[in-house]
């Protein structure tokens, strides 16, 4: 009765005590990440909305390769790859210890299915055009994949690391929109509108078990609410704190840290080339002169992001600085507009998505446009409305938007893109770029492409979007820059 029983009793009591202690512990393990834009659905292979990738890419879904925090390509579901001398055949060796969240195994069959699905036109993958070089995908045994290209593509491993090329299982392709199933370190738990997306660490994950066991991605488009939640300390990580009006007071707080960083996002004052007004090069150039981009940067109180003059990241080796191609000159703008036959009072609608940078920029842009004679109507829309009205239906005059996918200058070669920009010259230029294997020559052509877009003043190219993440001071592992849109939970931990 004596010792053994007391020991057992002690164990029971201790167990119950630790059981009681769990809630305190749980609050520290649940990480709340704020992403602002509510995703339209949860399948990154079916939408261009980067918020889906931010929440799910590298957390729920993984590709054959991945991009790390420095923008370098790393192995993911493929452990290594080889390319043939002529650059036309890639062989990927696949991991053999990977399981999907619904229990099925990953093998070359699943990988091949996933890539073939990406290439099918009817599946409307938003980045399908990036993979047009692929001619044939073939399984070699159970854990090797052979990809045959029509022309060499040195960027294929990079492209396969993008969110639209994640590996999905045939069982779940029809349900991934509402219940995503991947191979990543986190499995999807639930998604309730106004509540957020809940992810929990996947027990059978092939890699190291992550330190953060549970995460909640919330979407708060309303700036007042967002800043309020931050000031209440309810948010652990918000990757895009750059343009918050409460930016400075938040910087002073001991419980928060604001990290400086840049994304790959070119912020554009995009115009709908389908509108007659913007088909006139003089009007487009007038707009480029009308916007005081330096003044616009005041929306960022603690960082000075680089201005851009074309759709290209200053961090890319082929970058050409065209930021001063159209200096701020309202007088010249008015003159150009007059030349094009427009006098004061031309109505123009600026569609503003619910992002901080867009909302705050739009105020300056509206004033600048009004200063050269436009009558501006600011239309604030929800993210869903923006995706539908602007991105899908292309029913807009102008909009402020950041294109965060890396190396996406090719969108100007796409006929089906929401810009309605059709340029034979650019399309021809892009196919030369794609076919070019020599890096130096390729860079020269990329420079030419940048110049072409600048000369054409396709949009008003504003600046490279800063990525100042605000995080709880004891949350470590947050990426400084955002080479791809992703919040990689696996690399985060509480200190």
């Amino acid at each position: 009765m004596g010792d053994a029983f007391s020991r057992r009793l002690a164990v029971v009591l201790l167990a119950s005590l630790s059981f009681l202690a769990i809630p305190g512990l749980a609050s520290q393990t649940l990480l709340r990440v704020e992403l602002q834009l509510e995703p339209p659905h949860l399948d990154p292979t079916l939408t261009a909305a980067s918020t889906v990738a931010e929440a799910l890419h590298l957390n729920v879904f993984q590709g054959l390769t991945r991009i790390d925090r420095h923008g370098e390509v790393q192995p993911a579901l493929a452990t290594r790859w080889e390319v043939s001398e002529d650059g036309l055949v890639y062989r990927f060796a696949l991991r053999s210890d990977v399981r999907f969240h619904h229990g099925r195994t990953f093998d070359s069959g699943v990988a091949a299915y996933s890539l073939r699905r990406l290439l099918e036109v009817e599946n409307a993958n938003p980045q399908r055009h990036l993979f047009q070089a692929i001619r044939h995908v073939e399984e070699v045994g159970t854990h090797e994949l052979r990809i045959e290209l029509a022309q060499p593509d040195a960027l294929l491993p990079f492209r396969l690391a993008l969110s639209a090329a994640v590996i999905v299982h045939p069982d779940t392709v029809h349900t991934n929109r509402s219940h995503p199933v991947g191979t990543g370190p986190y499995r999807f738990v639930d998604w309730e509108r106004n509540e957020g997306i809940r992810l929990r660490a996947f027990e059978a994950y092939w890699g190291e078990p992550p330190a953060i066991r549970e995460a909640l991605f919330t979407f708060t488009p309303n700036r007042v609410e967002l800043e309020n939640l931050l000031s209440e300390g309810a948010i652990d990580l918000y990757p895009d704190a750059s343009s918050l009006t409460a930016h400075m007071p938040l910087m002073q707080r001991a419980d928060y840290v604001i990290q400086d960083g840049l994304s790959e996002g070119e912020v554009l004052l995009a115009m709908n080339h389908g509108r007659t007004l913007f088909q006139d090069l003089r009007v487009r150039r007038a707009l480029s002169h009308a916007i005081d981009r330096e003044a616009l940067l005041t929306i960022y109180p603690s960082i000075d992001p680089p201005l851009i003059g074309s759709h290209f990241s200053p961090r890319h080796p082929a970058y050409v600085d065209l930021s001063q191609r159209y200096p701020y000159d309202p007088e010249r703008a008015r003159k150009l507009l007059a030349e094009a036959g427009f006098s004061g009072g031309t109505p123009i609608a600026l569609t503003v998505p619910p992002t901080q940078y867009a909302e705050r920029s739009s105020l300056y842009i509206a004033s600048d446009l009004e200063a050269v004679g436009f009558e501006v109507e600011l239309q604030r829309v929800s993210w869903g409305e923006w995706l539908r009205q602007v991105f899908t239906e292309r029913d807009y005059d102008m909009t402020v938007i950041a294109h965060v996918e890396p190396m996406d200058i090719d969108i100007y070669a796409r006929d089906d893109y929401y810009f309605n920009y059709h340029s034979e010259t650019f399309r021809e230029l892009w196919s030369r770029i794609e076919a070019q294997q020599d890096p130096a020559e390729r860079h020269r052509l990329l420079a030419e492409a940048q110049r072409h877009l600048a000369e054409e003043a396709v949009h008003v190219f504003l600046f490279l979007k800063p990525q100042q993440a605000i995080r709880k001071s004891n949350l470590q592992g947050v990426w400084d820059d955002a080479p791809i849109p992703a919040v990689v939970l696996e690399e985060l931990y509480w200190e």
Binding site: F5, L9, V12, L13, S16, F19, L20, P23, N194, N222, R223, V224, E225, N228, E232, E359, L363, Y364, A366, S367, E370, L378, R380
Partner: protein, 447 residues
């Protein structure tokens, strides 16, 4: 078993109570914190609306106006959701019509304010470019309307705060009620838990007492009895039919067996001892014993004085030869018997040889002993021994001596033997003794 169950039940009750407590606390904290946070956010937003209104009022260009308007729109949008949330939390607890009505009026008021500010900015712009009286009057009128609109705004904001305050107060009451309810439940549970704990303690004590009575005390008693040098089996009796009683019975059986064995060994020892000191035929002491005894009593005998007699059956060889050994044995037994009966208790009588006996009579002198021996001799002579059909007349010769002055016992014995020899030589069936003369120097005078 029962105490274990009660302890387990107590622990389970405690755990269950903790679980409920935790659930209630977390529900209280989650639900009420959420409600309170929602209400206070709503309150804060309704108050901040005044500030945003001021920003709008102060806007002197469209940039500032839009900025203020953005903020107002954001606040309105959030307030709408906050009211919905509060309504969902409070459920039936109150009407939200007031809040919604005032909020809508406030928003209309802001729209009106925005229109006035927009007109003012445009009028100021016009006046700066080309002053004219109509515009100037219009501007003054706009300013007046703006002031009025601001007052309306302010009063609506206050109304909204009051309407929200009503719910804040309701939430506070809810929290108090929930806390009181929880406290009451906790008190009840605490009472039950205390009762269980007390019961468990009592049961433990009862168990301890029972174990002490039924196990410890019995085992201790058993151990005490066993540790004695010579435990008595009846003391090893333990009532009941449990293992201890069974063990006690086993021990009892062993003790019985040990005691029996010991008794048997003692008897055997006694028999061996008897055999070592007695003559098997006559049951008299044997010569070995006699000599050992003499040796031990030498000093006492010297001090006390003694007589020693040697007795020999007459013609014993002939009896043996004629009637056989059995008859001889019978004769020896009869003579021994006569001697035993005829000599005093204190005499040490032993069979000394085949048909020879010796008797030591401490404290006796010859005068006392001679008549005894004479009586024995006569007794033998006058009684025949029945040997089947024949009756045998048996006689014996007696040699007697007493302590010799300064002499050792051996000398007295030798003197007795000599006296016996003389009795034999003198015709047997007689008592011969050696008188102790005045100057006894070893040459004896015999009677």
């Amino acid at each position: 078993m029962v105490p274990t169950l009660v302890i387990l039940a107590t622990i389970l009750l405690a755990l269950h109570s903790f679980g409920e407590y935790r659930a209630t606390v977390s529900q209280l904290s989650e639900r009420h914190t959420h409600a309170l946070m929602t209400a206070s956010r709503l309150m804060q937003q309704s108050e901040s609306m005044l500030g945003s209104g001021a920003m709008l009022l102060l806007a002197d260009d469209h940039f500032s106006r839009r900025q203020a308007l953005f903020e107002i729109t954001d606040r309105r949008e959030w307030m709408e959701r906050l009211v919905d949330e509060l309504a969902a939390i409070r459920g039936e607890a109150g009407s939200f019509d007031d809040i919604e009505r005032v909020r809508d009026q406030l928003m209309e008021s802001f729209d009106a304010l925005d229109a006035l500010v927009q007109r003012r900015i445009d009028l100021v712009g016009q006046l700066q470019q080309a002053p004219d009286e109509t515009s100037d009057a219009l501007l003054r009128e706009t300013e007046r309307l703006l002031a009025r609109q601001m007052r309306t705004n302010r009063s609506l904001s206050q109304d909204l705060s009051v309407a929200i305050g009503y719910h804040v107060s309701g939430i506070r009451l809810d929290i108090r009620d929930a806390a009181e309810q929880m406290e009451q439940q906790l008190r009840q549970r605490e009472g039950a838990l205390k009762g269980f704990a007390l019961l468990a303690v009592l049961l433990l004590l009862a168990t301890a007492y029972h174990i002490n009575r039924s196990v410890v005390r019995r085992v201790v008693k058993l151990q005490r009895v066993i540790s004695r040098e010579r435990p008595a089996p009846h003391e090893l009796r333990v009532d009941g039919s449990d293992e201890i009683a069974q063990m006690a019975r086993s021990i009892q059986r062993y003790v019985h067996r040990i005691n029996d064995n010991e008794r048997r060994i003692m008897t055997m020892n006694r028999e061996l001892d008897f055999l070592a000191t007695h003559d098997a035929l006559t049951q008299l002491r044997n010569r070995h014993y006699f000599e050992r005894e003499l040796n031990e009593r030498r000093n006492a005998l010297a001090a006390e004085g003694y007589c020693v007699a040697m007795i020999d059956i007459d013609h014993f060889k002939a009896i043996n030869d004629t009637h056989g050994h059995e008859a001889g044995d019978r004769v020896i037994r009869c003579v021994a018997d006569r001697l035993r009966r005829g000599l005093p208790e204190s005499a040490l009588l032993a069979r000394y040889g085949g048909e020879e006996f010796v008797a030591l009579l401490p404290g006796f002198d010859i005068d006392t002993v001679v008549p005894m021996l004479e009586q024995i001799r006569q007794g033998l002579e006058s009684h025949s021994i029945e040997l089947g059909e024949t009756a045998l007349r048996v006689t014996a010769s007696f040699g007697l001596a007493q302590q010799l002055p300064g002499g050792e016992f051996d000398e007295a014995l030798k003197a007795a033997d000599e006296a016996l020899y003389r009795a034999k030589r003198s015709g047997r069936n007689r008592v011969m003794y050696r008188w102790l003369s005045q100057d006894d120097s070893g040459d004896a005078a015999y009677g």
